[in-house]
Amino acid sequence: MKQIKCDVAIIGSGIGGTTAASLLLKKGYSVQVVEKLPFYGGRCQTLDHHGFRLNTGAAMIGDSIHGALCREVGAELELRVPNPVFKFRIRGKDFTAPPKRMWQAIIGAAAKDDAEADRVFSAWMKAITWAEPSYSMSMDDWARQYTSNPLVLKLFHFLTCGIGVNSYELPAGEFFRQITQGATMTWAYPPRGCGQFSDALVGAIKRMGGDVWTRCPAVKINVKNGAATGVVVQKDGEQIEIVAQTVISNMPPHRTVEMTGEECFSPGYLKDVNKILGSPMICFEFMSDKQLPSLEGSSCYCFTEYKRAFMILDFTPLCPEMSPKGKHLLEAACVPGSVYPPYDIKREVALALGDLRQNMPDFDKNAKLIKIRVARGDWGVTGNIPGIGNLSIKTPVYGLYAVGDRSAPEGWWCSLAALKSGRLVAEDVAKRFKPA
């Protein structure tokens, strides 16, 4: 079998894999990334559908997280920051969220009086600045201690849907950890979709001497005496062994186990792997010939009265590059009634379309459906349901790391979590292994 040698072999070019690759190349390691799909970035890529740029996953990224990484590794990335970020529909009227004290203002707008707003916001601040609530209660249970107002309760449901889970299924402690981590984030759009972030990182990887092979599935992770020794991949019809002292897997954990062999892992680890479950989300891509009057003045229109569809984005005012000239590209999102399977996709879709019609009287007249994209399982909107317990970045096999949002510490989610895991792995590799 043909062999190549490098310091670090990375399976999967999602955010976790490319983050680790770019940081390790910068530290002087030789790195080879392999990707089974024909594109890189995984759930952070943008594909062309007849001139419309549809994201495979992430719709927005953070300047202070993703932008900062690009600047650190010399990847060129343009980001456009929406202003304002959110517009809410509350009691049938529009409320534009101010950039400062945003959540105080939104809770205030949804509350029936000042006393209720103060009660809820004080509890919110205490949870952020003093101690996060228990992981043993759901976010919905937490909120019901302070209000029974369906609008305020739905506001918290909206917030948890943003991270891919229902408020009654998310531990309150996890929610507040995530809020604290993301509090200083500036959300932004790359002009041609979030795939530009992955493209920028891969560009930097190649400039630093690394490479990413697409259409190149891994078939086996090699282990000797309990330590990783490399990866066998299928490339252009032949098998190649990549010999490396460090292997980083950006695959779903069960795939890592299958490719390495169950016998290499402890029974406890295998149990943890079996608990990992991606969160479902249904995304609706629409086009319109003009801006929907409902969406005027904001890129993100958020609902407080809905069964499933909690928001809709209009990419076009800020990023006209996302659609053919003169057309608007809109994306609505829906979290199923339960994030646990089985899912009745047809029913979820019908409920979500009903929400869009109810919240936007101009919707049916102006918007035309392009695609309904479903994320779930291994290709979930998050790789693991937030709050149910992620894996460590280190597997029981010495030198075999796991990156991706399933391997991030508690309180990190989606693309932020994937990036964090890549950073943690790069730091750990640098401590333990020297470049050849």
Partner: protein, 56 residues
Amino acid sequence: MVVVDQEKCIGCQICSAFCPVEALEGYGVIEINRETCTECLACVGTCPMDAITEVK
């Protein structure tokens, strides 16, 4: 012939971005429109869930 494994497909629509003739239809689970499909195999290898295969 190209087939979609109905158990594995999640409806992510990635394959449909690679189909030159819009033969990959539906939502939830993708179905191949046999009248439109030209068997060009462009969709094979594009599925994150490995749900699309060529059957000879």
